[in-house]
Amino acid sequence: MKQKVQELPDLGLGLGLRGEHFNHILEHRPAVDWFEIISENFMDSGGRPRYVLDQIAEKYPIVMHGVSMSIGSTDPLNFEYLKGLKKLADEINPKWISDHLCWTGVLSLNSHDLLPVVLNEESLQLITTKIKQVQDYLERPLILENPSTYLTFQQSTIPEWQFLKYMVEETNCGLLLDVNNVYVSSFNNEFDPIEYIEGLPFESIVQMHLAGHQHNGDHIIDTHDSPVVDPVWELFSLAWERTGGTSTLLEWDGNIPEFDVCHEELLKAKNYMDGFKKQFVRSEAIQKDEQMVSNPIDFLVSNVAKDFVE
């Protein structure tokens, strides 16, 4: 593996590329530093999504963010998938390729969810082996994100931050620190988000994610459908200070507003780059809605019927 994680560039403030914003971006060339794409939405695309991506990739740095590698599955790696991923990377030349510390299914099935892995020696062994295989195949470092989790396994013996640290030590992979996910997971699984962030290997954090979520009172769902809440901004300012600043990206996947609204929300990050001063307080509005889905599907499929000629 030629490239080192520490050599990856700081891309500045970026946005998740969504179909709803295609026309705006093509027409207005907004001053966003970079875009992150959901790899699976473009791997097989021979239609408008891919056509638009090719144009955007000429003007902006692109990062490929995947949801189906299933690095944490006890199934073997899907090399057909990796082949498609590599082909897309060869064509659009992303700054890096990321996915999640999660599994999506076993027995060759795909739940299309980012499922939590049991965190212990056995899983660490298997996952680090698979990360090395992927990095060898892709010939570049793999960047892995901490997912939002909603349960902890009885058989877990290693805190997630420490698991990530061991992963990095063993494989030289990079980390995508989603500060909103830290917040969501820490609430749902009752751990201290500050201790979590403080424990990470900062020099291997290549990128950060910001997003909004839905607080249901006794649990939080990572819906990516609203502005970032204050406590998450505070965690961001901590992570920003510890990492010395790194590529940062806002994800917005449900009830997607106008491009400018997303962009404004992203630029708020600038207000949190001058050090972690405030005391971290968990307080935010609660909305009881049992219908909320994590990673809403706007994230994953294009809406064809919206754009039909009669």
């Binding site: 791997m43 739940s111 396994f153 013996t157 061991y166 749902n188 699984n189 649990h219 889905v293």
Partner: protein
């Protein structure tokens, strides 16, 4: 690296693989329940079962959302509650094996054939036929939107020589036993169509400038375009109609001029 061992030994030993098989089974068959505490920790706010239920709810809700997005007209035809009942059964029978959700509805038409309520009856009802045709059509719409095709072509104009005409790369000629296209367009444009009676219908589904177009055509036009699609020759397609349907050459020519003008506008043709 050094890893601290958990000293609490009351936890049931389960392998990584056992844990994942258990959890996947729980997601796909939430009705069976049980054994949650063996695998999942409870917290001060939620029991082990409640933690798991967050994933169980998300699993089915996400896939239902995706099916609703892929089959908007079929959802309208069946009504949402019945559509979701079919969807849930379909997902059990054909769980996703693809890395992309784009493939989720791939076997839905097939599933509806296999599970039609009058499968073994001698006299079949007609509404399942409609639902099956509609499901297959909607999946075709999804795949046509994003299928690979070279769209670096020159659009034909009224000045293009007839023998230089070619169909756009994404072009599907469709024949249905029900008025599928008109029903589909009415449903996705919120015109609230009623269930149609059986009636043969013909249409062209095409992509031009990366946008899909759906156009109803007459049976004779379907025959003409079918022939044109295989021979890539307008004169052969015309001759086919003359021979097969006993159409007067002059009459055909005047029809063809009208068809051509309309189809050029609708983006049927490119220049060879």
């Amino acid at each position: 690296m050094e890893i601290k061992r958990d000293t609490a030994s009351e936890v049931a030993a389960k392998t990584f693989s056992e844990i994942q098989h258990w959890m996947q089974h729980q997601l796909m068959h939430p009705q069976f329940g049980g054994d949650c505490e063996t695998y999942v920790k409870s917290t001060s706010k939620l029991s082990a079962k409640q933690h798991l239920q967050i994933y169980q709810r998300s699993y089915i809700a996400r896939l239902r959302d995706c099916m609703e997005a892929q089959f908007p007209a079929l959802k309208h035809a069946l009504g949402r509650p019945l559509f979701l009942q079919f969807t849930d059964l379909y997902l059990l029978e054909y769980p996703s094996k693809s890395y992309t959700l784009g493939d989720l509805g791939q076997s839905f038409g097939k599933f509806l054939v296999e599970t039609r309520p009058d499968k073994d009856a001698e006299v079949k009802e007609s509404w399942p036929d409609f639902m099956i045709e509609l499901a297959d059509f909607e999946f075709l719409v999804n795949t046509s939107f994003d299928e690979k095709a070279d769209e670096n072509y020159q659009k034909a104009t009224s000045k293009t020589n007839e023998e230089e005409l070619e169909l756009v790369p994404v072009f599907h000629l469709l024949k249905h036993d029900f008025p599928i296209s008109s029903y589909y367009k009415a449903a996705v444009n919120d015109r609230n169509p009623e269930l149609p009676f059986a009636e043969e219908s013909y249409s062209a589904l095409l992509r031009h400038n990366y946008r899909l177009g759906l156009f109803e055509i007459y049976p004779i036009q379907y025959q003409f375009l079918m022939k044109f699609k295989t021979t890539k020759s307008i004169s052969s397609a015309k001759q086919f109609l003359i021979d097969q349907f006993n159409i007067d050459k002059k009459e055909l020519e005047s029809h063809w001029q009208q068809w051509k003008a309309k189809w050029l506008e609708e983006g049927f043709f490119i220049k060879k």
